[in-house]
Symmetry: C3
Subunit: 325 residues, 3 copies
Amino acid sequence: MSPAALPDAPTFTDRRDAPFHGKDILSVRQFSRQDQEYVLRVAHEMRNLVARIGSFDLCRGKILANLFYEPSTRTSSSFAAAMERLGGSVISINEVRYSSVAKGESLPDTVRTLESYADVLVLRHPEVGAAAQAAHYCKKPVINAGDGVGEHPSQALIDLFTIREELERIDGLTVTLLGDLRYGRTVHSLARLLCSYKVTLRLVSPESLPMPPEICEELRAAGLSFTQHTELDEVLAATDVLYVTRVQKERFADVEAYEAVRGAYVITPETLRAAKPEMIVMHPFPRVGEISMDVDDDPRAAYFRQIEYGLYVRMALVAMVLGRA
Amino acid sequence: MSPAALPDAPTFTDRRDAPFHGKDILSVRQFSRQDQEYVLRVAHEMRNLVARIGSFDLCRGKILANLFYEPSTRTSSSFAAAMERLGGSVISINEVRYSSVAKGESLPDTVRTLESYADVLVLRHPEVGAAAQAAHYCKKPVINAGDGVGEHPSQALIDLFTIREELERIDGLTVTLLGDLRYGRTVHSLARLLCSYKVTLRLVSPESLPMPPEICEELRAAGLSFTQHTELDEVLAATDVLYVTRVQKERFADVEAYEAVRGAYVITPETLRAAKPEMIVMHPFPRVGEISMDVDDDPRAAYFRQIEYGLYVRMALVAMVLGRA
Amino acid sequence: MSPAALPDAPTFTDRRDAPFHGKDILSVRQFSRQDQEYVLRVAHEMRNLVARIGSFDLCRGKILANLFYEPSTRTSSSFAAAMERLGGSVISINEVRYSSVAKGESLPDTVRTLESYADVLVLRHPEVGAAAQAAHYCKKPVINAGDGVGEHPSQALIDLFTIREELERIDGLTVTLLGDLRYGRTVHSLARLLCSYKVTLRLVSPESLPMPPEICEELRAAGLSFTQHTELDEVLAATDVLYVTRVQKERFADVEAYEAVRGAYVITPETLRAAKPEMIVMHPFPRVGEISMDVDDDPRAAYFRQIEYGLYVRMALVAMVLGRA
């Protein structure tokens, strides 16, 4: 091309002081309280900018690769929208089962292929540790969008951001985690993040599905005040944040045990009558009956706003690892 | 971000006078003749702009979500291209069978998730009424891209636009609808739209697949002149617009009955010899033998141009509901 | 829209002198040495531009349709990233099995549909000759991204570009092709391109999988010096470019024959000890054990860089057929 045809320089340049520039986002454990506050601050700016102008060119010319070894429409759409609102582009590899991988390609080779095309990789994988393995081989930043029963750090940061945006603080709150606390990846990650704050935790679960001992140990080590319950009634009135999760049928030995628990934990307008007027109800979604649709119009139902906050947190994370925030 | 990093305002702003701003596009019934003329006028402008400059930034920074519960490459590609030629971005959820929905999520929850990410939703769903249900829950505009045997309003508007662009008028024309008039969603919607015009309709179908009585009633109520036939020969010579549709084997009791009808309605160069030199042949596509490929080079074969007109109509609809046209 | 709302003209305009403007890319046979040098030169400029600024607006407002009748994540992602780094947009039709085609639509009809939406078509198809058929019906440029055992011209140009970028010349080199030379599409295309250069070829394959006679004939006709071998040892020391391909189990009558050959051709650090210090190892990927991961950190391992070069060559081809380079 002739010199006259030389393209314009992009509008935004990398920030010299961007603390997450080039970093991977693999685990909530990597985020100090200061780091978390940085994420929440940038996500809040993203929220304001989207409200004002919808999209902008902060990551223009950058490409995000969405590499999903198992389907998660919600998460992949959210990262795609985040990148597009930042002015960047997205390559989606959602059908790994039909791809080179099906021909036997290793995760490292796939990752090294995609880093040749893209500037940041978002990985969803069924195996614990896959994100760390990918990050080891990838020169570009990797964002873990869930690896098996392992981590899903952006979800936990979204939960934290939701609490902060809705209630304007985190310290001093009483947070009740409800449902399957044994296998629920999201409540584990959120509990770990909350170790950085002065919160009171109420853990409400079926007897067979309590918070795992190692996480209780972490809570104790962090000096968090927490108690364990099987009935929501015992703690509802004092709760500021009610975090509801799904109780999966597969976790129970027999159907009756499941049905009993399931019914007991369904959130209805009735439930909310006993709750604080400024309490918020959260849910990582999708929900399958854990929260009645009759609750949706209650201002305390924060779960749809939680989805929207997810957009801002993912915009923040992507912009941060690309050195633009 | 520092103030210096604040992104530019987008080039285009919402029009105060945009009559479809924020509206859903659910049914052809919502379009008065004046509304239809508005769509045709904006689509014509889109055609001119694409011819001159290909793409432009009318909807820059906006995101369209293509939510397809059943596959339709043609429709989803067309909306995607429309949004991209308007300078916007697209999120495609084509694999609903693998998504959260497969985990039991309701349409309202899926829709409320996507409205957190996108500015406009395009929905294809196998069930009648799905688009209206989605629109009820969605704060962002919803465009119905086909709900079962129900509506597919953009297709009908494309058909109308094709007639106007090709023949420069609609009033005064003789329009012949050929094929399966009983189950064909597109001919039902087109017939309804044509009720706003002074056209003569010729309905040609196998005896077992006539236009449903309720639609004939609407035609009558609108004062439209129409007749029903089983042979194309009877009406071809006076036809200005020949709209061909597929006759599906599944609609017949036995194969011979199907083969007889099918053969009788195939459009060949021979057929066209008896037609007006300025007649146009349309088809909603895909075709499976209803029109011989030997007809493709005849200037009266308008069906490929009809596909292209589809792009302009969908650009118009998207820009209109986003308040940009 | 009011005149004030008229969109900006795109930044770049078509080059009058663009020699591939509007052309199809169907086969390596269409590239004279001069043409090849043009591609390599433009691809080199793309490499420099990407290194400096990542993405740019050379093809802004243009749409590329990725039409894949069989899955190839690597190729489709590569073309998508290429178009996005050129500032254009991408429509992906990866699921042809669920689309109109499944309803019986012909390739010509599908192609003529997509040319209404897009500015350039990239086609992957399982049948030899599909790309030529598509190009026959398509008014927009078609790029063949592999048609069965036929051609995959961009891959061969990538291989050529890799050699040139890595070793700064092609004439005078000794190129060793290793593995299944009988069925390997990539080695056939590369061998044909190399006919334009003064290279020495060493063909190393199992006895049952030699280079086909018709290609040997072409090499002879081009005056190329080449020899055939079953052992890599015989030619390794003098090799400048070692091009490794996969030997598929399915090609062998019994497992032992396969295992013997497979083991013999695996590239390890040991293998490289006998090779020139400036030799490069290439592979069209995916690899399944043909090259040990222990080789990856050797500077001679060029196969990951080869993937990256693929981006630049595809950017060049797309920009060229769109008249922008």
